[in-house]
């Protein structure tokens, strides 16, 4: 009896020590491993320059500070994503602002969506005018071979989608399906969710004067 109590005690003690050490390691990791933050890099600036042409080449516009990244409160952004997402991978990643040139005051929202668990997310850059209506959309990244994504990003489909979405402030998946004529249901859902959450972000920023 005494022996078994002793061995139980030993087990509990060993388990507690291991757990405490592991939690400490994780807390240390959480505090010191840097977290990813999207930044305004040349690649993104080039895309923004194509969406909202400054008339300069991307490098010059980038160097002369034509675009800026909006500093969003991390906690508020997380809450916004949680309240507005249509599926777990659906979220706004960053917001950029054009500060010089013809399109000064326009906003570009970088967001991602998926629509179907198991697929790679699609991320889009959506440009908005000063009234938070869509000006243009561009695919930032998309894995070519993702199941279900074949079809919608054929040039014609995407061009139809761009024409359809211009000037809109709200969007539904079925509308996109009708206009693009694409056959793949899941990617449409992903694109619709992405544009939708971008629209909500643009509207929220517009209402609160550029803050969340």
């Amino acid at each position: 009896m005494k022996n078994s109590t002793k061995s139980t005690l030993k087990s509990v003690l060993a388990m507690s020590v291991i757990s405490v050490v592991c939690v400490a390691v994780l807390a240390f990791g959480n505090a010191f491993i840097p977290k990813y933050k999207p930044t305004l890099d040349l690649k993104t600036a080039t895309m923004i320059n194509e969406l909202l042409p400054t008339g300069l080449d991307a490098q010059t516009a980038f160097d002369n500070g034509y675009f800026e990244m909006l500093e969003l409160d991390e906690k508020k952004l997380a809450d916004f994503n949680k309240n507005n997402r249509a599926e777990p991978n659906n979220k706004v990643l960053a917001v950029y602002k054009v500060v010089k040139g013809d399109y000064s005051g326009y906003t570009v929202v970088e967001a991602q969506g998926q629509g179907y668990s198991g697929n790679d997310p699609i991320s889009l850059l959506t440009a908005f005018d000063e009234g938070a209506a869509v000006f243009d959309v561009k695919v930032k990244s998309q894995r070519e071979n993702s199941p279900g994504t074949n079809g919608i990003f054929l040039d014609k489909n995407f061009d139809n989608f761009r024409k359809f979405i211009k000037g809109k402030t709200d969007v539904g998946a079925s509308d996109i399906e009708a206009t693009t004529g694409a056959t793949s249901k899941y990617s449409i859902k992903g694109v619709a969710n992405t544009v939708k959450i971008s629209m909500q972000m643009a509207a929220a920023l517009n209402e609160n004067g550029g803050k969340l």
Partner: protein, 192 residues
């Protein structure tokens, strides 16, 4: 509300089937699908653990979020699952010794069944409420059971078929599963 519940059920059972669409829980799927009765037993045991662990993890995650300790998610969830499986082990040993012996080693393996942890993670990520969590857990578990039963039915037949030697065992089982997954993918988009 009822639409959401309905779509969760259809998604868990068929369109997003844990085996054929999410490809989680393949090890027990291949291991326990040789006989029909052990397939049913295993399926129900897994369903029980999935529902219980999803509910517990749902509440624990709320606490973790409050305390801003979400990085402990993996470690806490897996410990909860291990504890629940241990509990099931004790209960089954007393309540149904015959089922206990037929499930054998696979009972302990429910801990490392990624369907359980995968569902807990999904439920938390989707931000489901408690009712949706229970329904999601139940339908994912029953979807798993359905896959196991279908597979056992086919495999009982393949035991009498002549199969080239390199394909015997797991390879043929995987190919059968692939064909079933093709059939299941036909339901995609049925209830968007």
């Amino acid at each position: 509300m009822w639409m959401t519940i309905f779509s969760i059920v259809i998604s868990g059972l068929i369109t997003n089937n844990i085996i054929f669409s999410q490809t989680l829980g393949i090890c027990p799927f291949l291991g326990v699908s040789k006989k029909l009765d052990s397939a049913v037993g295993m399926g129900l045991a897994v369903t029980f653990v999935i529902v219980l662990s999803s509910v517990v993890c749902h509440y624990l995650y709320m606490l973790l979020e409050l305390a801003e300790l979400t990085y402990l998610q993996t470690i806490i969830f897996i410990l909860i699952i291990a504890a629940l499986v241990q509990l099931l082990d004790i209960v089954l040993k007393k309540a149904s010794p015959s089922l206990y012996t037929s499930l054998g080693v696979y009972l302990a393996l429910i801990t490392t069944n990624c369907a359980v942890l995968g569902t807990a993670n999904n439920v938390v990520a989707e931000g489901y409420g408690i009712l949706e969590t229970v329904v999601a857990g139940l339908s994912v578990g029953l979807g798993f059971t359905l896959a196991l039963i279908l597979m056992a039915g086919v495999r009982e037949k393949t035991q009498r078929a002549v199969i080239p030697k390199p394909f015997q065992g797991f390879p043929i089982a995987l190919i059968i599963a692939g064909i079933m997954a093709m059939a299941f993918s036909g339901f995609n988009g049925l209830f968007a």
